[in-house]
């Protein structure tokens, strides 16, 4: 029964939602299929790299587990591509805050209207996650459920 239902879902998703069949099927089978952005092989030598010594005050200093939690939450909530997504669905259009308590990292994600060239947000444009240091999503609370 489950396999027949899965097949049915896949076929309907292909026929009815042709604009994003890859994502639908990827979601169904538990795998993402967003292509990685190609990077140029040459280096832009006109960009001066700073020296990260004791005089430099970085704007962000993130522990690896916290970075992992933010990445997992962001990828769970919003697609990491493609580039033609509406501004309000791009990961870069959001603000990310994190708080670690023992082996759990809490991540709050909220739409940042300034990144879409406006001052007012949307209704229910945030979510809160609890992510284990092992990368498991322990809780997901979406605004406006």
């Amino acid at each position: 029964m489950n396999s027949r239902l899965l097949l049915l879902l896949c076929s309907v998703a292909f026929v009815g939602c042709a604009h994003r069949p890859c994502q639908v099927l990827g979601d169904l089978f538990g795998c993402g299929c967003v292509p990685k952005r190609p990077q140029p092989e040459f280096q832009d030598m006109s960009v001066q790299l700073p020296v990260f010594d004791h005089t430099l005050k970085p704007e962000v200093d993130v522990d690896g587990y916290t970075l992992q939690a933010i990445r997992i939450a962001a990828d769970d909530l919003l697609k990491s591509g493609p580039a033609d997504l509406p501004c309000g669905e791009k990961q870069v259009s959001y603000r990310y805050r994190a708080l670690r308590r023992g082996d759990i990292i809490f991540v709050r994600i909220e739409f940042k209207p300034e990144n879409c060239g406006r001052t007012v947000g949307m209704l229910d444009d945030g979510a809160t996650y609890a992510i284990g240091v092992d990368g498991r999503i322990l809780r997901r609370d979406l605004d406006g459920g």
Binding site: E89, V120, G121, D143, G144
Partner: protein, 236 residues
Amino acid sequence: MRLCLTVLMLLALGCSSSPPKGVVRFRAGEAPTHIDGPMPDFGPFPTYSDALLAACPLILSLPGAVTPPPSNPNFSLYWELSTEYCAWIYSTPDSQYEMSMVATNMTQGDSKMRTCDLPPYVRDFRYSEDSLGYVFVVHNHPVGDVLSRRDIRYIFNQGVMHGFSFKTGEREIPIGIIAFFSKGGPGSPSCDGFFQYTPLTGDLLRWTVDARSGLKREQYGVVRWLDSENFEIEYR
């Protein structure tokens, strides 16, 4: 078999290309500054309460506006196909109340979020723009949750833009935000009540619709703004 039919029906609804009558779709985060009004075949109403009670069943009956509770075994599928809708209820110079067209985001199914990008201004070609009074932002929460902190912030920002109240005749009408909920599930999405926040008073209210006694009011919290950016909620 019944489940398969439900799945097919829901997918058909979720993948339909043309929005229902009176609904306009915007790309999330890219909504224009204005939304047209009035909603066809809706108003006008002599009071904002009448407009609100008419808007509730209309919005909740739109496709995907209501999901079953999270305990439902097919909840994730319902959530995937759920949709958040939003609109303005506004007053006209004739002291009547109308609703704007209903907005929704174009690609609700592409992320887990259910948001609604409502333009801050209404354009009703019958009246000049500055003669309209902004009363309520109305929207649905598919599961029926209380107002989110982002809802509270949204209407506060709208109050900064439009004013936290406006005067019509002898009455002072405060701006507020409403989230409709239904306990009926997607098959029978009745209007069972709504949550309300009014920045002018700070009150967080839960209104439940009772067929016998009408509307029942219950205060479930109060919002205190510490400055223009930060606020705290005291739940009761």
